[in-house]
C-alpha cells in the first residue's frame, strides 16, 4: 500500500464523478491548445504574406514624407549610405531584410519614370562588415524569415523577384523594368534602355505588383549614385521588419539609432497583423478565463463533494493514525493526477483539432507544437491544484470524531 495506490483506487471507484471534472478541464485545454496552434501558424502565414508584400518600415530623409517616397520626389533630400551599416551592425532583433535605395525622376524616351538604384544581395555578402553583422544569415525566427512551407526554399523566380526585395545579382549595366514602364515604353527583356546617358540591358521585366514599383526602372545602386553624382547617399532604406518586433517598438529603436532620419512604418499592413495577433491572444485569454472558471469550479465542486462523501473514510484513516498532512496529500495527489490527465488529453485533442481543422478553417497547415504540451499540462495541473487546495485543506482539518458520527 502506498499513497498513490490509495488515490488511484479511490479515483477509479468513483470514476463517474471524476469524469465531469476531467472533461471540463480536458475540453478547456483542448480548446486553448487548438486556438494557440492555429494562431501560431496563422501568424506565421500572415508574416509570410507580409514578407512577400515587401517592406513595412521606411527610413527616409528627415524632412521627407511617405508621399515624397512614393512620388519619388526626393532628389533634394538624402542621407549617407553608412546608415545601412549602422543598422546592420546594431543588435536590433526583427530586422529581417534591408533594401537601400536611391530614387530619382528621369525621362526615358520622352516619358517620366523613376530610376531606382538598389543593392543586390551578393554585394551585401561581399562587404565583410555587413556580412559579419549577419543580416542575411540571421536564423529564421522573425515573421519575415519564416520558411515552413517547402516552397519557401525554392530559389526566387522572376514573379517573386521584386516581392522578395532582394535581388541576388545585378550588373553595373543591367536594369529591371517595372511592368507599367515596360508597357509604356514597349520594352521587353533583352532590350536596351538609356537612362542619364548610360545604356542598360534589360535583364527582366517585372510582373505587375500593383505598387509604385511598376513605374520604376531598377539599376545597381552604385551605378545610380555615380550617374547622379551625389556620392554614397540614399534617399530610402526599405526594411522588412518582423511585425511582432514592430509592435514591440522596433520603429522607435531604429529612430533612436538614426536620429537624423525619419523612420515610418506601413501602418495599415502592420496594424492588421498586430490586430489579428491581439485578437487571437485575447481569444486565448478568454478561453483561459473560461477554463479557469468552469474547469476550476467543476474541480473544486467535485473535490468538496468528494471530501463530504468521504468524511467517514477520512475519520477512519485518522483513527488509524493518519495525520492531517497525509489527508492533504491524498487529495492534492488526486488533483495532480486529474490535472496531468486533463492536460495531456487536452493537448492531444487540441492538436488533432488544430491539425485537422487548420487547413479547413484558416487555410493553413498546422503542425503539432510539443511546447504546448508543457504549457497545457502546467496550466491544467495548476488549475486542478488551486481548485482542490481548499477542499483538501478542509479534509485535512476535519474533526475525526465528527466524521465518524459517533457522538
Amino acid at each position: 500500500m502506498q499513497l498513490r495506490q490509495l488515490v488511484w483506487r479511490e479515483a477509479f471507484e468513483r470514476k463517474n464523478q471524476l469524469a465531469t471534472s476531467f472533461f471540463a478541464i480536458f475540453l478547456g485545454i483542448a480548446a486553448i491548445v487548438s486556438i494557440k496552434s492555429i494562431t501560431f501558424y496563422s501568424e506565421k502565414a500572415v508574416a509570410r504574406e507580409l514578407d512577400a508584400l515587401g517592406a513595412n518600415i521606411l527610413v527616409l530623409p528627415k524632412s521627407a514624407s511617405v508621399q515624397d517616397y512614393y512620388s519619388a520626389d526626393m532628389q533634394h533630400e538624402d542621407f549617407p549610405e553608412e546608415y545601412v551599416s549602422v543598422l546592420t551592425m546594431s543588435d536590433l532583433q526583427g530586422l529581417d531584410n534591408l533594401s537601400p535605395k536611391l530614387s530619382i525622376p528621369i525621362e526615358v524616351r520622352g516619358k517620366k519614370v523613376t530610376l531606382t538604384g538598389i543593392l543586390p544581395k551578393s554585394e551585401f555578402q561581399i562587404k565583410a562588415m555587413w556580412a559579419g553583422a549577419g543580416v542575411f544569415s540571421l536564423p529564421a525566427e522573425g515573421c519575415g524569415s519564416v520558411a515552413v512551407v517547402p516552397d519557401a526554399f525554392k530559389p526566387p523566380v522572376q514573379e517573386t523577384l521584386m516581392r522578395k526585395r532582394v535581388i541576388d545579382d545585378l550588373g553595373d549595366n543591367e536594369a529591371l523594368i517595372g511592368a507599367e514602364v515596360a508597357a509604356l515604353l514597349s520594352i521587353r527583356e533583352g532590350d536596351e534602355v538609356e537612362a542619364l546617358g548610360k545604356k542598360f540591358r534589360v535583364t527582366a521585366v517585372l510582373p505587375q505588383t500593383g505598387t509604385v514599383d511598376d513605374s520604376r526602372i531598377f539599376a545597381h545602386l552604385h551605378t545610380v549614385q555615380e550617374l547622379t553624382g551625389k556620392g554614397h547617399v540614399l534617399n530610402a532604406i526599405e526594411i522588412v521588419g518582423c511585425c511582432n518586433a514592430i509592435a514591440g517598438g522596433l520603429v522607435q529603436k531604429v529612430n533612436k539609432l538614426l536620429p537624423n532620419a525619419k523612420v515610418v512604418t506601413v501602418t495599415q499592413v502592420v496594424d492588421t497583423q498586430i490586430k489579428t495577433n491581439r485578437m487571437m491572444a485575447r481569444l486565448s485569454f478568454v478561453f483561459l478565463g473560461i477554463i479557469v472558471l468552469v474547469g476550476g469550479a467543476s474541480i473544486a465542486n467535485y473535490m468538496y463533494a468528494n471530501v463530504f462523501e468521504r468524511r467517514r473514510e477520512i475519520g477512519s484513516l485518522m483513527a488509524l493514525g493518519a495525520g492531517s498532512g497525509l489527508i492533504l496529500r491524498m487529495f492534492l495527489l488526486k488533483a495532480l493526477l486529474l490535472g496531468l490527465a486533463g492536460g495531456v488529453a487536452g493537448y492531444v485533442l487540441g492538436t488533432v483539432l488544430a491539425v485537422t481543422l487548420g487547413p479547413r478553417v484558416a487555410g493553413i497547415i498546422v503542425m503539432p507544437m510539443p511546447i504546448l504540451l508543457v504549457w497545457a499540462v502546467g496550466i491544467s495541473v495548476l488549475i486542478a491544484l488551486a481548485a482542490s487546495y481548499l477542499p483538501a485543506r478542509r479534509a485535512a482539518l476535519l474533526d475525526p470524531c465528527a466524521t465518524l458520527q459517533e457522538v
Binding site: S316, A319, G321, L404
Partner: protein
Amino acid sequence: MKLEGVSKSYKHRGRLVTALDNATLEIHRGEFVAVVGASGSGKSTLLLMFGGMLSPSSGRVFLNGHSLYDLSPNQRAEIRRDKIGFVFQTFNLIPYLTALENVQIPLYLAGRAPADQRERATNLLHRVGLGDRLDHKPAELSVGQQQRVALARVLANDPEVVLADEPTGNLDPDTSEQILRQLDELNREGRTIVMVTHDPRAAARAGRILHLNAGRVLPQGPNPDSSRPAGEPNYAVVEGARR
C-alpha cells in the same frame, strides 16, 4: 489510561448537551473494561477521548502518563497509529480496498515497506480466519468477515490499547462470540481493552464494567461475572459523581 475531571459539552440545535460530566477514572494496563449505559449516556464520547479523537471541554486525559490533549493533533495521530487500535460497530473499512489492502493501511501509515505490509497483513488475515478472502472487497464479505478484517487491521501495528465501540452490535450471536473470543485473546496477550457495548453478554466478558448515565460515570466495583483469573487487574477507580 486516566481521566481527570473530564467534561464534554457541545451544542446541538441550540441546546447545550453534556456528553460527559466531570469524569475521573483510571484504567490499568492489561485491563478488559466494558462501558455500558443507555444511548446518549456518553459511552462513545469516553472511548473517543481515550483515543485522542475528541478533546474534552475541561479536564485532562492521560495515556502512559502523557496528557493527550496537550499534544498536537498530529502527535495524537502518531499515538493512535503506534499504540491504539479502534474497532467500530460499522467496521469502517475502506470500501474500495481489498481486505488485504485494508489491513495494510496502518502498516503503511507506520512507514513499513510494501512487501513487509503484504506479508504481515496476510498473516493477520490468516489469524482471523480470512486467509482465503485476501482480495475480497468489504462489500463482497459478510458482516462477520468484515468485522474480522477490522480486527486484523487493529492488530496490524500491535497496539497496547484496543478501543472497541459496539464491536458486536451488528453481528449475529455466533459471529459475536467469535469476535469476543478474539478480544479475550488480545486481552490475554496483555493488551488493554475498553469496549463500549449494549450487550450484557459481551459486557460480562470484561473484568470491569463502567456504567454511564447522562454523562456521569457511576460507582462500580469488579465484575462479578468476570471469568478473569484471580490476581489480574480487575478493579475500578470511579470518582465520577456530579458534584
